[in-house]
Subunit: 426 residues, 2 copies
């Protein structure tokens, strides 16, 4: 949700422009501030942004490819790796380099992407003894899985920028496995160009003046990583309401129970109200409910600050029930609104600007801030903190943080799996 001032919004941010009566009420009845999900000026990826907010360190993040695979329902064994992929548009130059023209192939529609995906699946099942799977997910997005004895230490093929050549995958550490993995990824990418460039779907797209989806660009390799579950770490039983595969994967990798909602799309046309209603149901049974709404980020990447403003207003409308309940009944519940990163609409890319946060609940301190925006939150009582502090603060606001120095099992006296009561001798 965090942004920078936008030309199209009279140099205000979408959050400043949007009418957000409910977020403002929560801000007024609680504490606000700014969060650097990772560190000041560091643009988070959605995966590590979330891991930081949940209190994990960067080296505990398994790699986005793995998380997306998990979110899509695919399992990996040790040595198997997954890549996040895009169908992209490349143009071959005279020297045989492939220049990226559109990293998302004009945000190709699902139907066409699925057909191209099938073509790739039919032709590539195996490369040099390594089993190859490609799965199309949403729009231009897909997942590549390599099943073998491989390394995640391989560089991205996607140059993450247009008008740059597609990059040769390189081993990131000195290891035979990484060299072998890079070689296999290179073969895969060259094969997809061969298969897709003259595919009937692309011939038709070209005829219609649309960019060809003529290559698949893998990036952000990831494999299974062992981290403490959210429950083990914080003593809270967690649930998640999310639609995008990455967010479901993040939740699953931390042992959260993941729920989907009818009409949720991970797009601006999602079922906002349905997600919030589901969350309110889950609060009865779970200690921690994480609701992810992808839409503001989608609009940001499309560089559409007006759509983003509209999306924020829809979120605000959907949370009206939380505001009513938090004032009336949810006396032992704390509501938090924040983001895993800023995405300025002017650039369409994640930035390292801090994100606004509000924490609201009965009995908590209040500050003087009465409006939820990047600017207002900068004078809030939470001041400016980093993502890894958020969970500890929430635990404390719920009166569940353990006093330092007590010789009790962490994270809290309420979670004492290893404890025994004293017994009187008979």
């Amino acid at each position: 949700m965090g942004d920078r001032p936008s030309k199209h919004l009279k140099y205000q941010t979408p959050l400043q422009t949007a009418v957000t009566v409910n977020m403002d009420k929560l801000a007024e009845s609680g504490m606000t501030g700014l969060i650097d999900p990772i560190a000041p000026g560091v643009p988070p990826g959605s995966d590590n942004g979330h891991f930081s907010l949940f209190g994990y360190t960067l080296n505990e993040v398994p790699g986005r490819g793995y998380l997306e695979a998990l979110g899509y329902g695919l399992e990996l064994k040790e040595g198997e790796i997954a890549f996040r992929c895009n169908f992209s548009t490349v143009k071959r130059n005279r020297k045989g380099l492939l220049y990226v023209i559109d990293r998302r192939a004009g945000r190709i529609k699902d139907r066409e992407a699925a057909e191209l995906s099938k073509a790739v699946q039919n032709e590539i099942n195996e490369i040099d003894g390594v089993e190859v799977e490609f799965h199309h997910t949403l729009e231009h997005r897909g997942i590549l899985i390599l099943r073998g004895n491989l390394s995640v230490e391989v560089s991205d093929v996607d140059p993450h920028k247009v008008n740059e050549p597609v990059l040769k995958p390189l081993p990131l550490i000195k290891s035979k496995k990484a060299v072998e993995t890079a070689r296999i990824v290179e073969k895969f990418v060259l094969e997809t160009y061969r298969i897709l460039n003259n595919h009937q779907v692309n011939v038709e797209r070209e005829f219609r003046g649309l960019p060809k989806a003529n290559i698949i660009l893998p990036r952000e390799a990831g494999g299974k990583t062992l981290v403490k579950s959210f429950k083990e770490k914080w003593g809270l039983k967690p649930a998640c309401v999310a639609q995008g595969p990455l967010y479901r994967g993040i939740a699953k990798s931390l042992g959260m129970k993941v729920f989907m909602v009818k009409g949720a799309t991970a797009m601006p046309n999602t079922n906002y109200k349905g997600k919030i209603e589901k969350a309110l149901d889950l609060v009865e049974e779970y200690d921690f409910v994480y609701v992810h709404i992808k839409a503001p980020d989608v609009s940001s990447h499309k560089r559409d600050s007006k759509e983003k403003t509209d999306v924020i207003e829809k979120i605000d409308e959907a949370i009206s029930q939380i505001v009513e309940l938090s004032i009336q009944n949810l006396s032992d519940t704390v509501t938090v609104i924040t983001s895993d990163h800023s995405t300025p609409c002017e650039t369409g890319r994640h930035s390292g600007d801090p994100v606004p946060i509000l924490i609201s609940g009965q009995g908590l301190r209040r500050d003087a801030v009465k409006s939820f925006s990047e600017k207002h939150c900068s004078s809030g009582a939470l001041t400016r903190l980093t993502g890894r502090h958020v969970m500890q603060i929430l635990l404390d606001q719920l009166n569940m943080a353990m006093e330092e120095g007590l010789k009790m099992p962490k994270p809290s006296p309420y979670f004492r799996a290893d404890y025994e009561p004293l017994r009187l001798k008979k």
Copy 2:
């Protein structure tokens, strides 16, 4: 002093409610901010909260038991350990578990607790070759000392919560010593229940409808730890004015000279003015004077926000002399007001909310804050810092911090015990 909004104070904190003209004057003539004594959302214990404010790290804290023993005038040798204890009220259930009904046995009065203490001392002198000492201190509080070759790595018997069973002490690390220590503590606790449950004092208490003080619950084991003295660390000759044994122990363990004041009680009826007058005397001879006033925390634990408000006003009245002097004469003195932790009256327990701080003295920067409270200080120029920063800032405000890069002994050029002057050859 830090708190959260209180129902009984129209949702303001005691510090917001109290009339504090003198603190407000100091805030106006100085800098304010918020301090996380340890880290955001981490509720400090009084021992580690103080150690952090004095610039020490958590692993330099010797354990509260040791500090209380030291404050009470008891010395420990290597291998000897001390526990903070409470007289508590437990109820035995059918399965032989002891459920904690009142962690402080109705805040039992000194006279009765002393009598029960004597009964325990008479019957337990030794367990399996380890010398056992129990000392009653104030109200429900006491200290257990075990003299042998023991480990501090043993878990708390006190569950830190009512309606929970007394916990079996467990070794916190894999070591023979820790296992042995846990076994001895277990024997001690079971013995105290046997001795106290039907003691005449408790029979009478029960008759009067008061909770029995029928067990002693040890916690927070500590032993002698070698840390740099305050003088070695900061180059300042320190004194302390405190009454509570823990605070005296903290000061002693850091090599501060500890002073007591007539009429000081570590309670809301303490001699506020006397403590401040003593501090003002000590400023003549010492470089750093630490004054601890326990009363606001006592009222917080009693969940009495009105008494706490009253206590804060008494502190404010007592410091009027500092305000006058600091404007007139104390040109080379810096005054700091802060807390080692927040204790919201609504919960009666330490919380991880940051504490307000003010730093005032002639020639220092000023900010726009004119009132000393949690809310006002959140917009102060010190912003939000952690406890370990405070001493370095004070040293700098006194123009005694050494410039980084100089090859001089830390902490300051004013402290050069290890230095030798250059001598001319004869």
